[in-house]
Point group: C2
């Protein structure tokens, strides 16, 4: 699939755009490719765009004072990633985004996004629904953090995103689940 097709199919799950409308929207996306380990956003940066993942894997993460990393999101194909707090409030980045693997993305600038939103009603509807889905999935994760122990959080994640198992180093999975890498290792090497 071409980048264009990947994006189009993704959007069409929510709304219908004419060829013309889609072409117009698509024209604002700039292809950007990154190597494993490359940083897209660093804490303190100005943030003016968001990334749509075509292939590979990004991680959005925070590093605390003790140098401990917490992962807010892995972004695989058709996922979106940015520091949305910074992007929407015009603040400096408070999280980092970098590449877990080589990654191809389409980059959309916030001002272009707002421009197209005004011009094409359906695009705004799409973005509203995208936000809703994001909200719902974060709520699910909060519930999982409150209710489940490390083992069932791990099993839940592996069941929902099995591709992460081979794609992402285990210590990053641990940093996503909120568990130490040692404990995670013990979890799936026993039982």
């Amino acid at each position: 699939m071409t980048p264009r097709e990947i994006l189009r199919q993704h959007i069409q799950k929510t709304i219908l755009l004419s060829d013309e409308q889609f072409s117009y929207f698509f024209s604002f996306f700039k292809p950007m490719s990154f190597k494993k380990g490359q940083q897209l956003i660093r804490v303190g940066d100005d943030v003016d765009c968001e990334y749509f993942v075509l292939s590979g894997c990004l991680k959005t993460f925070f590093v605390n004072d003790d140098q401990k990393m917490h992962i807010l999101q892995f972004a695989l194909q058709t996922w979106w990633a940015s520091d949305y707090r910074a992007l929407y409030n015009h603040e400096k980045a408070s999280v980092n985004i970098d590449c877990v693997t080589d990654t191809e993305t389409l980059c959309l600038h916030a001002e272009d996004r707002e421009k197209v939103c005004k011009e094409i009603r359906e695009v705004e509807t799409f973005l509203r629904w995208r936000s809703n889905k994001g909200y719902i999935s974060l709520q699910k994760r909060i519930l999982s953090l409150l209710n489940n122990d490390a083992r069932s959080r791990y099993e839940e994640l592996m069941q929902q995103y099995p591709e992460l198992y081979n794609l992402v180093p285990k210590h990053l999975i641990a940093a996503y689940l909120g568990v130490s890498r040692e404990t995670l290792s013990r979890l799936y090497n026993s039982k």
Copy 2:
């Protein structure tokens, strides 16, 4: 302030509506008042509306197999509450909402919301931004759950929403923080 004024001021923080536009939007909101302990949404219910809080306090919560309650959200004045997963995906409710105190709300049906969204562009923009803000605040809470211990989560909450201290029983605060009521009690009675 009248309900109308409360809603209008809330919306105007994000977008501008003419008197006419606002009156039209407002006409779809139905005042609904509830007594402390009354249930707005129960697991398994059909969900077709969302609530805008005028006064009082709601809680959105989940009860697990061990009868342990986890609170996803407290909703105070100008907050919105519903089971958004159910509302957006036309599923049965997977969480409960009830009243922590006597509560006045304005109720908006999903079909009316979508109707007004189509008719008034600014309303759709408002809802898109509302979702974004919700997403950002859930992300903040996830980070807090991953990074902070019970004490600092408690202090963070009390600092951000001091009104909860006298409004909400401590065992509910505990259920929001993801800590046992005993531990919470010890936290603020020592140190």
